[in-house]
Every structure is written in C-alpha cells, then in structure tokens.
C-alpha cells in the first residue's frame, strides 16, 4: 500500500473535506505547494485558488478556496479556508465602518460606563422577571 496523509479542509461555516490522500496541492502565497506524506511541519498563508487532493488511482478532487491558512504536520494536512475574500485594505474598510457605527451610536454619550445606573436598571428588570415568575406560580396553583 502506498503512503497516505490525512487531509482536512474546513471553513468557518462547515466541513468541506476529510480523508486520506497520496498528495495535496495548495496555492500558497509563495507559489503552489505539493505536499506528500511525511512532509516537514509547515504553516503558510494560502491565496485564492484551487486545492487539489490526489486520493490515488487517478482520483483527484478539486476545491476552490478564497484564501486561508495551511498547516502541515508529518501525517496531517489542515486547510483552514476563508469564507470571505480577505485583503488588508478590505479589512481596513470594514474596520472603519464598524468604528463609524460605534461613534454614531455614542454621540453625546459619556465615555465612562455608568455602573450604578446600569445596575439599577438591571435589578429592576430582574425583579420584574421574578415577579412575573411568581405570578405565574400563583396562577398555576389556583388553576
């Protein structure tokens, strides 16, 4: 039997592939990588492209990924695929957007968390829930 290596391809929103393979090809940032069993430990960033899993007997599976990370251990290859296209400036734009939303929400609000006020309102809400609970118990007993 030829040597095989275990391959897992996962994304944050689900598992994509899991199984044995004779060889794995992945689009690393420095160029395409071919990983055979007993490869030395390696981590690298992947760019968008095709991951090919050679399962032997001419059986090759293709998966498109939009970037991610690759980890190689001597007997396991793990591809952590991104579900979104990532780029430094795209991330930056998203971050600015999130900041802006926060600033808008916090307009004319103090920057200090008012513990006392919060605690009072939470206690009030909790008391209300408790009294509803109590009322329900009384109602149940009567009914």
């Amino acid at each position: 039997m030829s040597m095989t290596i275990h391959v897992d391809i996962v994304s944050a929103e689900g598992e994509i592939h899991s199984g044995q393979a004779e060889m794995v090809f992945a689009p690393a940032v420095m160029g395409e990588l071919g990983i055979a069993p007993r490869h030395t430990p390696l981590v690298t960033t992947l760019k968008p492209g095709d991951v090919r899993v050679d399962e032997g007997d001419g059986e090759i599976k293709h998966y498109f990924i939009s970037g991610g990370m690759l980890e190689v251990q001597p007997h396991v290859v793990t591809v952590l695929a991104d579900t979104a296209v990532r780029a430094e400036d795209l991330d930056e734009a998203a971050a600015l957007e999130a900041k802006k939303r926060a600033e808008e929400a916090m307009k004319d609000k103090s920057a200090e968390f008012e513990y006392a006020k919060a605690a009072a309102e939470l206690a009030d809400a909790a008391a209300r829930l408790r009294s509803i609970e109590k009322l329900r118990k009384v109602a149940n007993k009567r009914g």
């Binding site: 952590l80 990532r86 971050a95 609000k109 920057a111 200090e112 513990y115 309102e121």
Partner: protein, 286 residues
C-alpha cells in the same frame, strides 16, 4: 345583553395576543433547529484551528507574536455579543448583569474598560449607560457570516496591537441546552495555549513567507473564529430563549382567558338571576 361587554372585548384582545405569541413560539422553534445546525457546522473549523494553535504553542518559534504574550493590564476590551431583537426572556439582561459585575471588578482594581458590541441590544445598553465603545456590528440576521464580523474584530485587535488594550474578552450566552443559557465571559487574547504531550520535543515549523505574517494571519483567524462561534452560539440561545419565553406567554394568555371567561359567566348568571327575581318580585306585587 349589555353585561360583560368589556370582559368580552378583553378576552378577544388576549386571544389575539395569544395567537401572536404562539406563532412566534413556532417560528422560534424552527429557527432554533437551524441555528443549532449552524452551531454544529462551525465546530470542525474551531476544532482544527484549536489543534493548529496547540501545535503552534508547542513549537519553538524564534518570533514571539504579541497575541501569545501576557503583559501588564491597564485597559481591557470586551466584545459583547447580544441579540438584535428582544422578546427572548432574560437572555440579554442576564448577560449584561454578568458583564456589569465584571466591569465593576475591573474598575475596582483600577483597570479601565472599552467595549465593542455585536447586536442591537448591546448597542442600546451601552448607548444608555455610556462606556467607551470602539466598534459596533448590528443587524446580522439569522445566518451570520464571518465577513460581517471581521471589521469589528479588527478594530479590537488593532487596539491591542497599538497597546491601547492589554487583554480582550468576549461575552456571550453559551448554549447548554434548550432551557439553559449560560452567560459567559472568555479571554480571547493573549491566547492561553493548550498542552499536547505528543509534540514535546524541540521543533519548529517552516514559515512561508515569514513567521510574523503567517502567525499574524493565523492568530487573527483564530480570534475571529472564536468570536464567530460565540455569535453563532448566542444566536441559538436567542431562539431557544425566545421559544421558551413565548411558550410561557402563550400559557399565561390561556390562563388569563380562562379566568376572564369565569368572571364573564358569573356576571352573566348574576344578571339573569337578578332579572328573574325582579320578574318574580313584580308578579308577587300584582
């Protein structure tokens, strides 16, 4: 008959409320199943990611990433995960209460806090009570995508990189079962590594192109996956909490209707009795 007109209207109004709450209960039940499936789907990625991080903490890189380094704590950041909508029992207020306790403890030990909120309810909470809010994400919908969270998380990680925050936490409801949701606060960065005995010997990865970039990408994704998972878990909590809350609301409405019906029947009977006695009294007088 004039008797009990108000009671009848009240019964009708309670009945229409009951219709709404029972519909909401059913909607929440079906959404909860989907949310739970989604929670299961994120698990493989999180597990694999945790493995890689565990391997990484066992290797001996020359480059130490700031996310793995503990430092003196002057200011901490909380990523607060809440629901967008209400009517889900005490889900959000339980979380905020747990959080308020934490914030108080931090403030007492002289540590300042900053926030970033996910979900409308947390935004509203900190909008009312102030606090230094750095970023915000709302209206994520039922199927949360990780790209809706990237910006928000990046703001917090940038603040960590710049030294404005020395520690990051995520606060969310963890899903125990349909009836139980547990308000949880977890530390995100610095990352606490896990032990793996198999890899105890001295070794290191090959990093391509270099350790700094690769670790940066990997640890950022790790933090993102943790936050994503807590958002997905919180969504499942939201649906199950809403289902339970709506079920008890429907039950309560049923009880209320029964009671009102009883009152109404009594009033009706009293009116009939009175009418009869009036007739009898009138007949006797003649």
């Amino acid at each position: 008959m004039a008797v009990g007109k108000e009671i009848r209207t009240q019964i009708a109004s309670v009945q229409s409320t009951q219709k709404i709450t029972s519909a909401m209960e059913m909607v929440a039940a079906s959404k909860m199943r989907k949310a739970q499936d989604r929670m299961g789907a994120t698990r493989p990625y999180a597990d694999k990611m945790r493995n890689v991080i565990a391997h990484l903490s066992q290797s001996h890189p020359e480059y130490k990433h700031p996310y793995t380094q503990d430092r003196e704590v002057k200011r901490v950041g909380y990523i607060v995960v809440s629901s967008d909508r209400g009517l889900c029992g005490g889900l959000n207020s339980n979380l905020f209460r747990r959080l308020a306790k934490d914030i108080k403890a931090q403030a007492d030990s002289g540590v300042e806090v900053s926030f970033c909120t996910i979900g409308q309810k947390a935004a509203g909470f900190f909008g009312r009570f102030g606090g230094d809010m750095l970023a915000q994400a709302t209206h994520l919908g039922d199927a949360v995508h990780i790209n809706d969270l990237i910006g928000t998380i990046k703001v917090m990680l940038d603040a960590f990189d710049e030294g404005k925050l020395d520690r990051l936490y995520v606060a969310y409801n963890s899903f125990v079962n349909t009836m139980t949701q547990e308000p949880t606060v977890e530390q995100l960065v610095p990352i606490a590594g896990e032990e793996d005995d198999e890899l105890k010997h001295h070794w290191d990865y090959i990093y391509e192109p270099d350790a700094k970039d690769v670790l940066n990408g990997l640890l950022t994704r790790y933090v993102e996956s943790l936050v994503y998972q807590s958002v997905v878990e919180n969504a499942a909590c939201e649906q199950s909490a809403r289902m339970v809350a709506m079920k008890s609301a429907t039950d309560n409405a049923g009880e209320l209707i029964d009671e009102l019906q009883l009152v109404y029947n009594k009033a009706r009977q009293a009116a009939i009795t009175q009418e009869i006695s009036e007739i009898v009294g009138g007949a006797a007088a003649v």
